[in-house]
Subunit: 311 residues, 2 copies
Amino acid sequence: MEFSVTIFGSGAAVPTRGRHCSSQMIIADGYKMLVDCGEGTQNQMFLYYKRLRQLNTIFISHLHGDHWFGLPGLLSSMHLGGRTEPLDVYGPQGLKKVLDSVFSVSGSAFQYELRIHEIAVNEPETIFENDKCKVTAFPLQHSVPTYGFIFEEAKPELNLKKNAREKYGLGDADCRNVKAGADFVMPNGTVIPNAEMTLPRRKARRYAYCCDTGYFDGLLDIVRQVDMLCLESTFDNKYSDLAAEKGHLTALQAAQIAKQSDVGQLLLTHFSARYKGGKIEVLVHEAKSVFENVVFAEDGKRYEIATRNSN
Amino acid sequence: MEFSVTIFGSGAAVPTRGRHCSSQMIIADGYKMLVDCGEGTQNQMFLYYKRLRQLNTIFISHLHGDHWFGLPGLLSSMHLGGRTEPLDVYGPQGLKKVLDSVFSVSGSAFQYELRIHEIAVNEPETIFENDKCKVTAFPLQHSVPTYGFIFEEAKPELNLKKNAREKYGLGDADCRNVKAGADFVMPNGTVIPNAEMTLPRRKARRYAYCCDTGYFDGLLDIVRQVDMLCLESTFDNKYSDLAAEKGHLTALQAAQIAKQSDVGQLLLTHFSARYKGGKIEVLVHEAKSVFENVVFAEDGKRYEIATRNSN
């Protein structure tokens, strides 16, 4: 079952030619959740994803402009594109008031129901749950109220028994169906019950998104052993004072958090505009000196979230 | 002296892969004025112009989102990019309040002075004037208060006498200086007074921007004989009812206005997302059936505004 993240924006406060402001889409078994919505997110979606209207839910981490200035345009385009299904948007207190203000002057009235849910949690708390995914929000440490999110698969796949593929002649599509719980009908009509082909479900995969935040001890327990940890790494260690002052992380700190939390994979994002083109290697190199399994976000790229133990 | 328009966004309400929402930059003798600022304008400026900080003044036609949703991000990036010169932004009533609301939740405080001037004119009125350009605003006919703008060169070039170039051995740079009013020093030290090389100044060029608007008779006199008329042409004539209902123009109407107003050149823009790629030809063809000198806006393209009689 798909559990992936697609990056629409991996830049920090100021976009650059190759990096839009923060935005990414998590897909859990077909359920599509946008996390943050920097300016130009709808254009990036057109470019890399296309199916704007099919977005299911939106989460906004905080109200610094580079994390939500694309939201009014995206919401408007969903309306103009014919969306009629209600849309839930989760974000910090103040989001509803400012969107009301924006849509009031722009004379917008949507044909779909826009439901804004303002987050106000002091410790990890489930803010969203359906049959595909559960989302937990928790406070980060930044200059304005900011939330991190953990996305957890609701229904992880069953594991396939060794040799089941060969034994029953399962194709790729059959394997997916069986892992999702289906029985298998062989070409001769024999029905193989699901339990004969599978082992118990594997542990639900978890993806944590923490952007923006400075370092704080409490974060380690919150993201412990997630399968993929997406952390901001605005600066390299040379700018550690600036990072601390601005409530950001260095790549070194991000890797230390990943290591101490024993996560599966570290996904770096939110890179300062000073790291243009190949300069991003400075951050990756710095992180890899502490934690090996590092990938860095690139606009338009999709990352599969693999089970931690498989790494 | 440069008098040009560079398109950053030529799309209508919903951006498409090749067309961002409305935005363009008029340069009058080095003075840079942004007109409208749809989402992603700052990215388009990076791509096609680069010198974000050097923008001098901004004009917003109306508060539909596709004409200003890029403004908060652009203003923020100017601050983060180190701008310290005050910035004047002209736009409809309500602009100040909504920007205050946006920047209040995003915790923004700029190091430059942001001066919002709310326009409220019932007939053509000069709202801005300096030694490079004069800007007149006038009401258009749309579903929310909307203004058109006429940009007029403040100091048009002197005309060069026939044969002056050959007679005094003027190079291209010399010609520009002489047209701007300078005397010319020949290689032997002889000073040729400007008056000996020039004829009286030519008429100041004028560029009119009308987007968004439905057709109304009064528009003809306002834009009469401008050198370039930029008109929205959201639809082709097949959708004339929809255009009328939404307060937009068809390409046919735009061309009729251009013809009846006896303008130099017609620049079409604000194309509905239905005209993807080559389909734009429908609009151009329709317009050219009525008025020959038509160009259509393309994101990233710069158009020289030529004197009307030279067309």
